[in-house]
């Protein structure tokens, strides 16, 4: 029940990050409704265990690559919510100096090589990061997140094959939230599990409950250990569900309210809290304290972002070239 190697402190931290993700996104959503931030956003509410459980298996100097639905990965890897929020507001102190926004948040110094506006766009990059780690003998691992939809891009297949023949230290994490925009996985794949595709590239492939932090952690830990030992890549499929629409303009005509409700009953945060309570690691009061502290962090991040300065329009060309 309590995976070996995870301290009580690590578990509290994991729970805190899951709260941060949910609260960050709920806040972003309401700020958008108020017209304080623009563009669009892809919320990962309901998928927090997959992001945090996977990152929990990494060391601070390992790398991740992320997706358009990337706030959770970003927080999971240890980004500061206030710098993320500032980016959402398009401010100069934001992670991308206001140039990237929600879909491109990157924390390069923290090993997060970026969210991505292009489906499967990060998968070949992660393969290159794995190559670089191997050539420079850095002893690191690169973990790359992508959705079920991304597994039908050519880039996915080319990447897994290359990583397999070169035995690169990459962990490919397919977050299967049942839909690619409106396309259900049942319509998009002729196979029952996306992890079956690992067979074609002769690498381990597993499917786990993506709403169970421990299940995700265990699977990723195994793959990370293998990668670090020079034994090559793995493919992990985490089964999860997005509670919100695909983006801000989704009328959700492709799924039923009942289906959403059924998945909401499997809330990954509540699930972890129950596990921690039952294991006697935390009591109700401590759980409430963690949630309240996360709430405070998010409120402070909004205050920070609102007070920050916009980039100077005269600086617009900065960053195009080195």
């Amino acid at each position: 029940m309590r995976p070996s190697g995870l301290t009580a402190v690590a578990l509290q931290e994991a729970l805190r990050k899951m709260h941060l993700i949910r609260l960050f996104e709920e806040k972003a959503e309401s700020l958008y409704a108020l017209g304080k931030i623009h563009g669009t956003m892809h919320l990962s509410i309901g998928q927090e265990a997959s992001a945090v459980g996977a990152c929990l298996a990494l060391k601070p100097d390992d790398y991740i690559l992320s997706t358009h639905r990337g706030h959770g990965h970003c927080i999971g890897k240890g980004a500061e919510p206030k710098l993320m929020m500032a980016e959402f507001f398009g401010k100069d102190v934001g992670y991308c100096r206001g140039r990237g926004g929600s879909m491109h948040i990157a924390d390069v110094a923290g090993g997060n090589l970026g969210a991505n506006g292009i489906v499967a766009g990060g998968i070949p990059l992660s393969t290159g990061v794995g190559l670089s780690i191997k050539m420079q003998q850095l002893g690191k691992v690169c973990l790359t997140f992508f959705g079920d939809g991304a597994a039908n891009e050519g880039a996915f297949h080319e990447s897994l094959n290359l990583a397999a023949i070169w035995q690169l230290p990459v962990v490919y994490i397919c977050e299967n939230n049942r839909y690619a925009m409106s396309m259900p996985v049942e319509a998009a794949f002729p196979i029952a599990q996306i992890s079956q595709r690992a067979v074609a590239y002769n690498m381990p492939g597993v499917t786990v409950d993506g709403n169970d932090l421990f299940a995700v952690y265990e699977a990723v830990k195994t793959a990370v250990t293998r990668a670090r030992a020079g034994e090559g890549p793995s493919l992990i499929e985490t089964i999860t569900y997005r509670w919100r629409g695909h983006s801000k303009s989704d009328r959700q005509r492709y799924r039923t309210r009942e289906e959403v409700k059924a998945w909401q009953a499997r809330d990954p945060i509540a699930h972890l809290e129950q596990q921690l309570l039952r294991a006697g690691l935390l009591d109700e009061a401590q759980l409430a304290e963690i949630a309240a502290a996360a709430q405070q962090t998010i409120e402070a991040s909004v205050a920070f972002a609102e007070a920050a300065a916009d980039p100077d329009p005269a600086s617009i060309l900065e960053g195009v070239y080195a």
Binding site: G98, R99, G154
Partner: protein, 344 residues
């Protein structure tokens, strides 16, 4: 709400025209083409029940069913390639690439296959396909969802490139593109989808390769494409109050490009400004300028021919930076006024 009204069509007949949005006009063209010819079908991401990322294909799945309005997985290479293959063998596919940015993943099948197959095979194969795609910035979607890549396709022999700016043109040009026996890249603009204009009911085409004078004027020719057409017209309204009359010309089809209309206009005005959203360097504007200065208009020029285009920068997220990156109405007003007043 459709505003019904009578209007006189080109042939002198009375046709019913209504106000439609640009998105509705595109949808109506698709509907008419699919009704008229059972070989016409659509494929793309989320074009079915979802109705397309911008709602353009709303209702077509319900009307024509999943065989003819085909939702695909996220696989842009095969969306383009399957369209080429189907087109070579008797179908008339209309593919949708959800954002023009993602056409980068379709490039090989479009550029190295679709565009060249007819020529390479000695003219014995035909590739009648249309690839529709929304381009442009202004939605806060940042650098990977805001591209204007039309110039890339203009550079490829074998492809045609269409870029409508009004609902009327969108419908007529799309029907012409679907009738055309060549691969046509049909570039829509996200910010134009909700703009309204009069659109006749029923089937009509706007010929590919005919530039149109959208507003006559004596002082300066402004050649504008896509979203820059309404911006140029707005600028013309503003400058008219100062007594400056802009002539706004919309190429509508960038390849093949009807340079003659622009030449005639410049012969009249003696001055030209070219406006587009895509970055200036390597943009279509260079082509327009070259056509002006290398032909009959040259002797009539009274000032340098100028370009006003996007900065050479990826589209930023921040609202103000995003506006700064591409020409706005006030930029066109400033540049046009300067040109007319002899600042260059």
């Amino acid at each position: 709400m459709l505003k019904q009204m009578e209007a006189v069509a080109a042939g002198g007949e009375t046709a019913v025209t209504r106000e439609l949005t640009y998105a509705q006009a595109v949808r109506e063209a698709l509907q008419l083409a699919m009704t008229r010819d059972e070989k016409v079908f659509m494929l793309g991401e989320d074009i079915g029940v979802y109705g397309g990322a911008f709602g353009v294909t709303d209702g077509l799945y319900e009307q024509f069913g999943p065989e003819r309005v085909r939702d695909t997985p996220i696989s842009e290479a095969v969306i383009a390639g399957a369209a080429v293959g189907a087109a070579m063998t008797g179908m008339r596919p209309v593919a949708e690439i959800q954002f023009m940015d993602f056409i980068t993943l379709s490039m090989e099948q479009l550029v190295l296959q679709g565009a060249k197959i007819r020529f390479m095979f000695g003219g014995k194969a035909t590739v009648p396909l249309v690839l529709r795609t929304p381009a442009g910035s202004g939605t806060g979607a940042a650098a990977q969802h805001s591209e204007s890549l039309e110039a890339w396709f203009v550079h490829v022999p074998g492809l045609k490139v269409v870029m409508p700016s009004t609902p009327y043109d969108a419908k007529g040009l799309l029907l012409a593109a679907i009738e055309d026996d060549n691969p046509v890249i049909f570039v829509e603009h996200k910010l134009l989808y909700r703009t309204k204009g009069h659109v006749p009911e029923g089937y009509y085409t706007v010929p590919l390769s005919q530039s149109e004078v959208k507003r006559p004027g004596r002082d300066l020719t402004v050649v504008a494409t896509s979203i820059m057409v309404p911006r140029a017209l707005e600028a013309a309204d503003i400058l008219a109050q100062e007594g400056i009359e802009l002539e706004v010309v919309d190429p509508r089809t960038l390849k093949p490009y009807d340079a003659g209309t622009v030449t005639q206009s410049v012969i009249k005005t003696g001055k030209a400004l070219v406006v587009h959203e895509a970055p200036k360097t390597g943009g279509f504007g260079g082509e327009v300028v070259a056509e002006i200065v290398s032909g009959a208009a040259f002797d009539y020029l009274e000032a340098p021919v100028r370009r006003l285009a996007g900065l050479d920068v990826p589209i930023p997220y921040n609202r103000e930076l995003e506006r700064t990156a591409v020409p706005q109405v006030e930029d066109i007003v400033r540049e046009a006024r300067a040109l007319v007043q002899g600042a260059y």
